[in-house]
C-alpha cells in the first residue's frame, strides 16, 4: 500500500506517495531528487545518510519515509544560506581539507551542524565523541576534527557579526 506523505525539506513543502517500506534515504534521493544525501551502508553504521529531522541528526537509511510524514528535514543541500553562502561547517570542511572523496561529507556536515548548535565551543574529546558515529575512509579524521573546531570559530564569528548588525 502506498502512503501519501508531506515533508518540509530544506524549507520547501514536498509531497510524495511512498510504499510503507520506502526508506527515507531512498525517498530523498530518488523520489525527491535530493541526491546530496548519500547511502554508504544501509545498516546504520557509517552515518553517510545522516540528515536533520526537526533539527536532530538521524540516519535516513534507518527510517521509513512514512515515519517522517509531517516533519521538517534538512539535508546537505539545505545547509547553505538562501543566497548560497556556505554554512560554517561547510566552509570549515573545505578550509581544513576535511574531505577527500566527499562521499561521507554530507553526513558529517549534518552531524556537526546539529552538534555545534548544542555545543558552540567543544573540546577535542567532545568533537571526537560527536563524530564517532560517522565513518570516513579517506581522511583519517584529523582534518575533520580540525574542521569542527574551525566551524565552531566561524559560527561564533557569524553570530558576533549578526549581533553587531542588529545593534
Amino acid at each position: 500500500m502506498n502512503h501519501p506523505i508531506t515533508l518540509t525539506v530544506n524549507g520547501v513543502v514536498r509531497e510524495a506517495t511512498v510504499p510503507a517500506r520506502r526508506l527515507l534515504s531512498d525517498c530523498l534521493r530518488h523520489d525527491l531528487g535530493l541526491t546530496g544525501t548519500h547511502v554508504g551502508c544501509e545498516h546504520g553504521v557509517c552515518g553517510a545518510c545522516t540528515v536533520l529531522l526537526d533539527g536532530e541528526p538521524v540516519r535516513s537509511c534507518l527510517m521509513f519515509a512514512a515515519t517522517a510524514d509531517g516533519h521538517e528535514i534538512t539535508t546537505v543541500e539545505g545547509l547553505a544560506a538562501a543566497d548560497g553562502t556556505l554554512s560554517p561547517a561547510q566552509r570549515a570542511f573545505a578550509e581544513c581539507h576535511g574531505l577527500q572523496c566527499g562521499f561521507c561529507t554530507p553526513g558529517f556536515l549534518c552531524t556537526v551542524t546539529a552538534f555545534l548548535r548544542e555545543n558552540a565551543a567543544p573540546t577535542d574529546e567532545e568533537v571526537v565523541e560527536a563524530i564517532s558515529g560517522n565513518l570516513c575512509r579517506c581522511t583519517g579524521y584529523q582534518n575533520i576534527i580540525k574542521a569542527v573546531h574551525r566551524a565552531a570559530e566561524l559560527q561564533a564569528e557569524t553570530r558576533a557579526d549578526k549581533e553587531e548588525g542588529a545593534r
Partner: protein
C-alpha cells in the same frame, strides 16, 4: 617568476570541495534515466557447489519484474572476466564467468538476476528463484590447499602459479650465518571498504553503449569490456562520474559491469545496479591475505647478509584483473631500504573458495614492508641493538644514491638519515625509551612499546618496459591534453581518474605555473572516455608522478607554439622571445604579449606565422623511465594494558619524503588517510570466513573500520628529496602511509610485550588476541619454570643418592 609566486608548493584549497560540501555531486547512483530498470543479483550461499538446477520462472510473474536471468542465459555471450597479468608461463587462469553457470566457488558469486521497475521489487523477486546446489568441499586454508589430497577449487588444482626471483648467492649468505631470523607473518584478508558502494548504469541506443560506473579505471575498463562482451570499443563509452574512494577496490572489471551491459543489450533499456554494503563486503575484491615466511641472515653486528622470502598468496576463487600481480609488486621490496648481498623470493599463488583478492592500497608493498620491518626489529633483539641502530647499519646512505638494490631496482634519490633524524626529534625517542625502561622496572601492567618503520616503496606505476618484462597486459604511460581557449582560459584533459585525490586542484596548480595563467583559469576534464580518449587511470600512486608529467610536457608544447605566434606578432626571432609569468617578451626590450593575447590571436588566425596551424593545444603521453621511491620514517608509541590486552596508540609521528610537493594540503591528507588504513590493518580489520566458507564480516558492524575515536592524533612532517627521474621532482604519495603504518604499530605492540616473552602478535592485534598471546606465553613460561624446577629437583635427588 620567483619561487614564492609559484603555484606548485602552495596549500591551495581544493576546487572540488564547493560541490562536495553542498551536495551537488554526480555519483553513479544519482543517475535516473527514462525507462530505467533496476537489477538485483541472487548470490551463491555456498562456498563451493555444483549448480544442478536453476528455475527462474516463478520470479518472472512477480510485481514489477521485467526479466529474470540465470547463468545459462548469458553463457554464450558473457565471456570470462579478464586477468590482465599472467605472471608466469605456468599461471593457471581459470574461466571466470560473470554469472556462474555450472559451479560456484565462493559465497556471493552471482547466480541469477532480476530486472525490475524498482530496486525493492527486483530484490523481492530474488526469493522466487529456485536454485539447487550439490555441495562440494570448500577450500579455505592455503597450506592445506597445497597438500596432497586436498579438495580442489578448479580441476587444474589449487596452485595458480609459482614465481621465483633470486639475486646473489643466498646459500652463501645463510651458510654459517652468525644470526638467522626466521619468522612467519600472516597478512590477514582485508575489505577495502570505499565509502561509496559500487554502482553501475548501462544504457544503449541500439548501436552505441554507455556505461557509468563507480570505477577508478574508465579507460582500462572500456578496453576490457570491449574484449569481454564483444561490443566494439568505438561504440562503447565508459564514464566514471564522481567516485567515492577506491583504494584499489575499484581497479577492477567486475561481473556486475559486464552483466549490466549484457542486460541492457538484451532488453534495450537502461539498467542500474547499486550494491548494498553487505553485497559489497562479499563481492568487492578483497586485499592482502598472504602467509609470509621471511628469513634474514646477518652478522653479529647486525649487518644483513641476505633475505629469503617464501610467500603463499591467497588468490581466492579466480584471478581477477591484477590478482596474481599484487604479491609480485612486493617482490622487489622485501629488501626494503637495506643493502645486502643476496635475495631470494618465491611466491606461490593459491586458489581457495573465497572472494578473489586484488589490489588494495599499497598492493604488495605493505606486505613486503611489514615483513622486513618486523624482521628488522627481531634482528635488533637478537643482536642486542636498538632497532633504529640496526636499521642505520643496513640502510642505503644518502651519499650512495642512485643505488641499485639487490632486487634490481634503482632508487634514484632518498635521504633516510634526514627523515629519521626529523622523526626521532619530533617523537622524543630517547625520553620514551626512558619511560619504557621505567615501566618495565616497575612491572607496570600498562606497558609502553615503541615501533619503528623505515620504509620505501616503488610507485608511480609504471615504466611500460618494466611492466612488459613482468608480463603485465598493458603499459604504464599517462596522457594529457592542454587546450588554451580563445579567451585565455585553459582546459585540461587528463587520463588520470581521480576519486578523492584532488587532481582538479593539483593539475590546475601545475598548469598555472607552466603557462603563467591564474589558478582559477584552469579547468580539468577527466573520467569520460568520450572526452578523455586516452588514459591509464588512477592507482599505484601514479597520477602525479606519471600523469602530472604528461601534463607538464603538454604545457611545454603549448608554450612553444605560443612562443612562435608571439615572436611573429612582435616581429622577433623565436629564439629572442623569453617567457615568464604568462608573458612573452623580446629579450632586452619592453615589447611583450600575454599568453592570453596569443590565445586570442591564434583563435582569430588573422596573422600567424607561415604554415602555423591555428591551434594552441597539445597532447603528451609520458612513459616514465623508472618508478618513484618515496620513503620515510614512522614512529609509533603504544600503551598495552597487559591485563585486558587493549592497545592505545599514544603518539604517532610520520616523516615522509614524497619529493617535491605540489599541494602540501593534499599530500598531508593522503598521508593521514594512509596511516589510518595502515593502523586499521594492525589493530582492527579482518575479513573472517567460517569453516564452511561463509563470510562472517558482511556488515560495517562486523568489519571494524576505525572511527575518529579509534585513531590517534598524527604528527606529520616531510623532508624533501626530489625525484631525479621526472622534471617536477615528484614521487607518489597515496600509499606511503598505509605501507609504513602497519609495521610501526605491530612493532610497537611486540616491543611493549617483549618482557613477557612475546615475539609476535597476529594482526589484527585486537585486545582478545593480545590477551590470548600473553596468556599463552605465561603458560609456556610457567611450563618452562616447572621443568627447570623439576630438573633441579631431579639433579638434587641424583646428587643425594650419589
Amino acid at each position: 617568476m620567483t619561487d614564492t609566486m609559484s603555484e606548485v608548493g602552495r596549500a591551495r584549497r581544493r576546487k572540488e570541495d564547493a560541490r562536495l560540501v553542498t551536495g551537488r555531486t554526480q555519483w553513479t547512483d544519482n543517475i535516473q534515466l527514462p525507462g530505467m530498470l533496476h537489477v538485483a543479483f541472487l548470490r551463491s550461499p555456498m562456498a563451493h557447489a555444483r549448480i544442478t538446477r536453476v528455475d527462474v520462472s516463478a520470479a518472472r510473474g512477480r510485481p514489477g519484474v521485467v526479466a529474470v536471468f540465470g547463468g545459462a542465459d548469458f553463457a554464450a555471450e558473457q565471456g570470462s572476466l579478464p586477468c590482465a597479468w599472467p605472471v608466469t608461463e605456468d599461471v593457471v587462469i581459470p574461466d571466470h564467468p560473470p554469472m556462474a553457470v555450472s559451479e560456484v566457488r565462493y559465497v556471493g558469486e552471482a547466480v541469477a538476476c532480476v530486472v525490475a521497475t524498482d530496486r525493492y521489487k527486483a530484490a523481492d523477486a530474488l526469493d522466487a528463484i529456485e536454485i539447487d546446489y550439490e555441495p562440494l568441499e570448500p577450500v579455505l586454508d592455503m597450506t592445506e590447499a597445497l597438500a596432497e589430497g586436498s579438495p580442489t577449487v578448479h580441476e587444474s588444482g589449487n596452485k595458480a602459479f609459482t614465481w621465483k626471483f633470486a639475486q646473489g648467492d643466498i646459500g652463501e649468505a645463510f651458510r654459517d650465518a652468525p644470526v638467522v631470523i626466521d619468522r612467519t607473518f600472516v597478512q590477514q584478508r582485508l575489505i577495502p571498504s570505499a565509502m561509496e558502494p559500487r554502482a553501475v548504469v548501462a544504457q544503449t541506443d541500439g548501436d552505441r553503449f554507455t556505461l557509468h560506473s563507480a570505477t577508478q579505471i574508465p579507460h582500462i575498463l572500456r578496453v576490457m569490456l570491449a574484449l569481454t562482451t564483444g561490443i566494439p570499443e568505438h561504440r562503447l563509452r565508459v564514464i566514471a562520474p564522481d567516485v567515492g574512494g577506491g583504494f584499489g577496490s575499484k581497479l577492477q572489471v567486475t561481473a556486475e559491469e559486464v552483466l549490466c551491459l549484457l542486460i541492457t543489450r538484451r532488453l534495450g533499456r537502461p539498467v542500474k545496479w547499486t550494491e548494498s554494503r553487505s553485497e559489497g563486503n562479499l563481492t568487492v575484491h578483497h586485499g592482502r591475505d598472504q602467509l609470509q615466511r621471511i628469513s634474514v641472515a646477518a652478522e653479529r653486528d647486525g649487518r644483513i647478509r641476505g633475505v629469503k622470502v617464501d610467500l603463499l598468496a591467497d588468490m581466492g576463487a579466480y584471478l581477477m584483473l591484477v590478482t596474481p600481480g599484487v604479491p609480485l609488486l612486493g617482490a622487489f621490496m622485501y629488501n626494503g631500504i637495506y643493502k645486502m648481498d643476496a635475495y631470494d623470493f618465491t611466491c606461490t599463488g593459491v586458489f581457495t573458495t573465497k572472494m578473489p583478492t586484488d589490489a588494495y592500497r599499497g598492493a604488495g608493498r605493505p606486505e613486503a614492508t611489514y615483513a622486513i620491518e618486523r624482521a628488522m626489529d627481531e634482528l635488533a633483539v637478537e643482536v642486542g641493538l636498538d632497532p633504529m641502530e640496526v636499521r642505520r647499519r643496513n640502510w642505503i646512505k644518502h651519499s650512495e644514491f642512485p643505488y641499485t638494490t639487490i632486487a634490481g631496482l634503482t632508487y634514484d634519490s632518498g635521504n633516510y638519515e634526514a627523515a629519521t633524524d626529523r622523526a626521532l626529534a619530533l617523537f622524543g625517542y630517547d625520553k620514551l625509551r626512558a619511560e619504557q625502561a621505567d615501566r618495565r622496572d616497575r612491572r607496570d601492567p600498562v606497558q609502553l612499546g615503541i615501533g619503528i618503520s623505515t620504509y620505501t616503496e616503488m610507485c608511480g606505476l609504471a615504466p611500460s618496459r618494466v611492466l612488459g618484462s613482468l608480463s603485465y597486459g598493458a603499459g604504464g604511460w599517462e596522457h594529457a591534453e592542454v587546450r588554451m581557449l580563445p579567451t585565455g582560459t585553459v582546459e585540461v584533459v587528463t587520463g588520470t581518474s581521480p576519486h578523492g585525490q584532488g587532481h582538479v586542484t593539483a593539475w590546475s596548480q601545475i598548469v598555472a605555473d607552466a603557462l603563467g595563467v591564474p589558478f582559477e583559469d584552469v579547468s580539468v576534464i577527466h573520467g569520460d572516455t568520450a572526452s578523455s580518449h586516452k588514459g591509464m587511470d588512477t592507482y599505484g600512486s601514479r597520477s602525479l608522478a606519471v600523469g602530472g608529467i604528461a601534463l607538464v610536457q603538454a604545457c611545454e608544447k603549448v608554450r612553444e607554439k605560443a612562443r612562435q605566434v608571439a615572436a611573429h606578432l612582435m616581429e622577433a626571432s623565436a629564439d629572442d622571445v623569453e617567457f615568464s609569468d604568462g608573458r612573452f617578451r623580446v629579450r632586452g626590450t619592453t615589447t611583450e604579449r600575454t599568453i592570453q593575447e596569443i590565445a586570442l590571436a591564434t583563435f582569430a588566425a588573422h596573422d600567424l606565422p607561415e604554415g602555423f596551424e591555428p591551434r594552441l593545444d597539445a597532447q603528451a603521453t609520458f612513459d616514465p623511465d623508472n618508478f618513484s621511491f618515496p620513503h620515510g620514517t614512522h614512529l609509533c608509541a603504544v600503551e598495552v594494558d597487559t591485563e585486558t590486552g587493549a592497545t592505545t596508540i599514544r603518539s604517532y609521528v610520520a616523516v615522509d619524503d614524497v619529493g617535491k610537493v605540489v599541494n602540501p594540503l593534499i599530500v598531508e591528507g593522503q598521508v593521514h588517510g594512509g596511516i589510518a588504513q595502515g593502523i586499521a590493518q594492525a589493530l582492527f580489520e579482518e575479513a573472517v570466513y567460517d569453516a564452511e566458507g561463509n563470510l562472517l564480516t558482511t556488515t560495517m558492524a562486523d568489519y571494524l573500520l576505525p572511527s575518529a575515536a579509534d585513531l590517534p592524533d598524527f604528527v606529520t612532517d616531510r623532508t624533501e628529496t626530489p625525484a631525479t627521474t621526472n622534471p617536477l621532482g615528484v614521487k607518489g604519495a597515496g600509499e606511503a602511509g598505509t605501507i609504513a603504518a602497519t609495521p610501526a604499530v605491530v612493532n610497537a605492540i611486540v616491543d611493549a610485550l617483549r618482557p613477557y616473552g612475546v615475539r609476535d602478535v597476529r594482526m589484527p592485534c585486537t585486545p582478545e588476541r593480545v590477551w590470548r598471546t600473553l596468556q599463552n606465553r605465561a603458560l609456556q613460561n610457567r611450563a618452562l619454570q616447572n621443568r627447570a624446577l623439576q630438573n633441579r629437583a631431579l639433579r638434587n635427588e641424583e646428587g643425594a643418592s650419589a
